[in-house]
Symmetry: C2
Subunit: 292 residues, 2 copies
């Protein structure tokens, strides 16, 4: 256990796959963690690792005072409820407390939240594998001062932490990331299925293509999942669909007309709602092409 | 100058950007080169480097006898004309001569050609940069015997040479490669434009995303071109469009129904035919989003 964060007292709300790994790294770096989660099971696990559990959100906020509270939640609606809803953090929140939002949250909502409370949007790329290995790519949006406050903490969680600009910039960057991920998964899925239908071994195609212009992290990792048919998440497709919706909303807000983005949304909706594959890893998009 | 190919006498037809670099590497590896090209200027350059120039295609074929003839041409129609058309190679071709086709040629046509003459489809990925550096990814289709005949020659040109299966398998793999390239370029273009419209620096977004799930060779190389607006080819968009058309034909032949592929074709057609950007590098697809 390193002691880089010894003396820091940190709040952490949301102990799902990503949050649990992030909280653990902060704890192991020596921070005194005060955590909260909706379900008791995750709280119990945190307590077993030696973290303190808050009785409720206002109590967590009061104990952290003017410090830093991480939130690692799945949707914009949950972020709003946890921070500003009835029984939420705001009932005990110090006006100087900094909220660090590591989830993928709508850009416009992020700007609205940041007008009410010191806020750093700090969404990540790299998935659960990156979270476990503390090698996340972290894209932060907020004031220079708030970024500097959070930086030593974020450096414990990720290998690349970039300050993208004012509040919302981290979320814009995350949506740009997710746009590329969603569409590259689709491209790799079609390419491997095209090969298979044409009598060429997809596993061999994936290997042959690594090193050329088609090389990508998606071809390496998700391509391998597609070849093996190994679709336990990983990155759940319902969350990928949620992110594609968020980026379509942002594209509309800023006047980007993209038939490709509209098509991408239709593909992910088909996968999740028509095919019922939402709980599988997003690499299972290849099923759309295998089944038709 | 190495002498790995000393004693080999090789034919080479097609001295464009890719062919010129490939012929030069074979020449520098010690092979005795006999070349032909439609335009005299390219032939003149080859002669200055010490290569012999054939008077015409049948003469080249006769001098090579049962050896190996490379062709590095732009379209299926040109391949068919150069090999089997009036005044083509076939008028002097030995029945045991092996044709090594390094271009991107239709799968069905490749299988038809291979029924008439020993044939190895050996298309490449890596572009002119890869050809100049002899670091191409080469995906070969043909019999084991023909692959083994060509392997020591192909190893001079590429850093990864894979035997994909029988004739046409190399072309299938190349189309799978091009599908990924075409769609990843589109994804990176939209992502960077979405960031710019949202007030976040696209150059910073590109850097922040390297290392995460969105990382790709396209984000590195073509993303950098988009950031700089540097669109001199490189890979010409008319050729990218040609490859997208070939993959749509193959998809239809093998029963792959893909709205994403149809959308991709529409985007490249719009870029080349409506916007008139066909002679620019394929990274200039971002103009579709910048102009709307």
């Amino acid at each position: 256990m390193s002691n880089a964060l010894r003396g820091h007292k940190l709040g952490f709300v949301g102990l799902g796959n990503m949050g649990r790994a992030n909280a653990r790294h902060l704890h192991e770096a020596g921070a005194q963690m005060l955590v909260w989660n909706r379900s008791a099971a995750a709280l119990h696990g945190a307590a077993q690792m030696g973290m303190a559990c808050a009785a409720n959100l206002p109590s967590l906020a009061r104990q952290i005072g003017s410090g830093v509270i991480f939130i690692n939640l799945t949707t914009t609606a949950v972020v709003e409820e946890v921070v500003f809803g009835p029984g939420g953090l705001h009932e005990g929140l110090h006006p100087d407390a900094l909220i660090v939002d590591m989830g993928t949250t709508a850009v416009e909502a992020t700007r609205r939240f940041a007008a009410k409370q010191p806020w750093l949007d700090a969404p990540v790329s790299g998935g659960q594998v990156g979270a476990e290995a503390a090698s996340l790519t972290i894209m932060a949006g907020g004031s220079h001062e708030n970024f500097q406050r959070a930086l030593p903490l974020l450096q414990v969680l990720g290998s690349r932490v970039t300050h993208m600009g004012p509040s919302g910039s981290g979320q814009v960057t995350k949506l740009a990331n997710q746009l590329i991920v969603a569409q590259t998964i689709d491209a790799v899925a079609q390419a491997l299925n095209l090969a298979q239908r044409s009598g060429v071994d997809p596993a061999l195609v994936r290997e042959a293509l690594l090193g050329g212009f088609a090389e990508s992290r998606i071809l390496q990792l998700h391509g391998q999942r597609m070849v093996e048919g190994r679709f336990a998440p990983g990155g759940r497709s319902v969350l990928q669909l949620k992110d594609v919706r968020l980026m379509c909303e942002l594209a509309q807000d800023v006047g980007l007309q993209s038939p490709t983005l509209a098509n991408s949304l239709a593909q992910w909706e088909k996968m999740v709602h028509e095919k019922g594959l939402g709980e599988l890893d997003h690499s299972a998009l290849i099923r759309l092409y295998q089944d038709n």
